[in-house]
């Protein structure tokens, strides 16, 4: 019984983290048709920026609550900065090109940014555990639960609701939906597609950085942490259906629970389980669980 509870709680925490990372990726893909490998770099930069901010903040002994604000500010700032530069300088030139070519551009950017990260922050690991430990923990049925982890799940849930509300109820969300369904028709009706692209990319970048920033207190922040994340986020997005928000949520839950299950029951199969699930889903639903089938072009 305790194993089941452990799997569910671990799975939920893991899924929450995956969701925050994957929703940015799927948003950018859905709107811009760009599979953004550089999302891993947003994540890594977010984690480093947060670690630095936490270090600076907690060294001064200021109240703990502000520390969480510092994390968010750092992530948003770095996400906006990187997103703006990448979109304006590089991606702008390749809109409308082959999807695969654009993937390679973002792959190149990812390679470059990985080293820029090392140039800025060095190769030594950083720890920024204070927000995690300060939040405290309690036990339920003999199982320790961290308040920070619960907060993470709560944040992911809020994010899901906010995303759903924005897309369904606000003007920008409706414009977004129009662009997702048919870019050209939307442009013909006067939607400023270029602006929608910029905003989408910035939001996606901030979400990626936030994902990293929220993880920073739980791990030792070391170079190369973006690589693993990007492949995992791809798996989540592919399972859910590329470009689908509900898909990202369901995909994150599936991957999170499967991984937690594997970790507790058969630890050798941890990585294997994630990709096996992905392959299995794709066998039956090539477009993922929540994606529309594309019409064939004759």
């Amino acid at each position: 019984m305790i194993t089941v509870i452990a799997i569910v709680t671990d799975g939920l925490v893991y899924a929450a983290w995956l969701f925050v990372v994957a929703i940015g990726l799927t948003l950018i893909f859905g709107v811009m048709k760009i599979l953004n490998v550089a999302h891993g770099a947003f994540y890594a930069f977010g984690a480093y920026a947060a670690a630095t901010a936490i270090g600076l903040y907690f060294d001064r002994g200021w109240p703990v609550v502000g520390g969480y604000l510092a994390i968010a500010t750092a992530a948003i700032a770095i996400g906006l900065l990187m997103g703006y530069i990448l979109e304006r300088v590089f991606l702008r030139r390749v809109y409308g090109k082959d999807e695969v070519v654009v993937v390679l551009i973002t792959y190149a950017l990812f390679l470059i940014l990985e080293d820029v990260l090392i140039l800025i922050w060095g190769t030594d690991g950083r720890s920024a555990y204070q927000p995690y430990t300060e939040a405290g923990s309690f036990t339920v049925g003999g199982l320790p639960l961290s308040v920070y982890d619960i907060g993470l799940v709560g944040f992911a849930a809020l994010l899901a609701i906010a995303a759903s509300y924005t897309i369904k109820k606000t003007t920008f969300g409706r414009l977004l939906t129009a662009v997702i369904y048919d870019r050209e028709t939307a442009a013909a009706f006067g939607v400023d597609v270029s602006r929608v692209y910029t905003v989408t990319f910035l939001v996606g970048a901030v979400l990626g950085a936030l994902g990293g920033a929220l993880t920073a207190p739980k791990i030792s922040v070391t170079p190369g942490l973006g690589v693993e994340v990007i492949v995992l986020a791809f798996a989540v997005v592919a399972i859910g259906g590329m470009g689908s928000m509900e898909g990202a949520l369901v995909g994150a839950l599936i991957v999170g629970l499967f991984r937690a299950g594997a970790v507790h029951l058969i630890p050798q199969l941890e990585l294997f389980s994630i990709y096996a699930v992905m392959a299995l889903v794709l066998v039956f639903r090539p477009q993922g669980l929540f994606s529309r089938a594309q019409p064939r072009k004759i």
Binding site: L104, I105, A108, I112, V116, I118, A238, Y275, I298
Partner: protein, 317 residues
């Protein structure tokens, strides 16, 4: 391909082989490694022409490499030719099996699914003690028809073997690209449904292309394993696949020799980058890739072809 070009190719490769004893050993090792990458890229070209970009070709590369390592360790096979034949067969077999699934997908889904499959292998390799886990396994020195060259002789022998593989791959792949099945690749890329209206099964064709490309990747993996004398799970990681795609972009899918030149350029850039900026080779690699895509989107090989195309007509090329 004309007899003259084959002769020319054979002469160039023969010249390289003859020059080997007068070349520093590190350079020979570097070129051998570049040729193993070139073999994989040859396979990528076959898929690339059909509009398919595999982000998981490392699956077959690692299959080939591990086949060599494990055949040596478990069954005591040391003959280099036999090892390579085994590696090619295993990689092709894996591709044939996963091909039933993979050949149904196109574009980004093909890329993602092949990535997932390679990451499954990576996951298995990392966690499995019998397969060497994260440390990998050492590969015993191979023999060549009973001869066991050691020291510099071994490096030369591998280099000559690599030259032979490159020559066969060049002939084979060029022949395939010129055949009806190979020529259909462009048509598949442009419009698959029209190809099906011609009465051709695109799925089967893609399956075949995948198997051929996997055989080449297996050969490349085998050569790399013999040349490095070590295999590790990194060979199945997605960054390895990314490297192959990188070289394909750099070289372009236009011709087979371009693939090998691209692979050589890649190894040289990497070696220089590591030497000059130990912490910054990804930065240099990424910049080269970015500049190539932005300014020479058809690859460096296309520069040669474009030049030839604009030159005055001298009969059929």
């Amino acid at each position: 391909m004309t007899g003259l070009r084959i002769l020319l190719g054979a002469a160039i490769l023969g010249g390289l082989g003859a020059a080997a004893p007068f070349t520093p050993l590190w350079l020979i090792s570097l070129v051998t490694l570049a040729m193993s990458t070139g073999l994989v890229v040859c396979g990528l070209i076959i898929l690339w022409r059909g509009g398919l970009v595999p982000f998981g070709q490392a699956l077959f590369f690692a299959t080939g490499a591990y086949t060599v390592a494990l055949s040596g360790r478990w069954f005591g096979v040391t003959d280099a030719f036999l090892l390579i034949a085994l590696a090619v067969t295993m990689a092709a077999l894996v591709a044939f099996v996963v091909g039933f699934l993979l050949a149904q997908y196109r574009e980004i889904f093909f890329a993602m699914l092949s990535l997932a499959l390679s990451m499954i292998l990576y996951g298995v390799l990392v966690k499995s003690e019998t397969l060497g886990s994260t440390d990998g396994i050492n590969v015993a020195q191979a023999s060549f028809f009973g001869m066991k060259p050691r020291g510099p002789g071994y490096t030369f022998a591998l280099f000559w073997l690599a030259l032979g593989m490159v020559f066969s791959a060049w002939l084979g792949v060029s022949a395939y690209l010129g055949s009806v099945a190979g020529q259909l690749a462009g048509a598949i890329r442009d419009n698959e449904i029209r190809v099906e209206y011609l009465g051709i099964s695109v799925t089967r064709l893609v399956h075949l292309k995948l198997t051929i490309s996997a055989a080449l990747a297996g050969a490349g993996g085998a050569l790399a394993a013999l040349s490095i004398s070590h295999v590790d799970p990194q060979m199945a990681y997605w960054t390895t696949s990314g490297g192959f795609v990188f070289v394909t972009i750099l070289a372009g899918a236009a011709s087979v020799p371009a693939a090998f030149l691209g692979a050589l350029l890649f190894e040289i850039v990497r070696t220089i980058a590591v030497a000059l900026l130990p912490g910054g080779w990804q930065l240099i690699l990424g910049s080269v890739l970015l500049l190539t895509i932005l300014f020479v989107p058809e690859g460096l090989g296309s520069l040669m072809i474009r030049k030839r195309a604009t030159a005055p007509e001298k009969g059929a090329a």
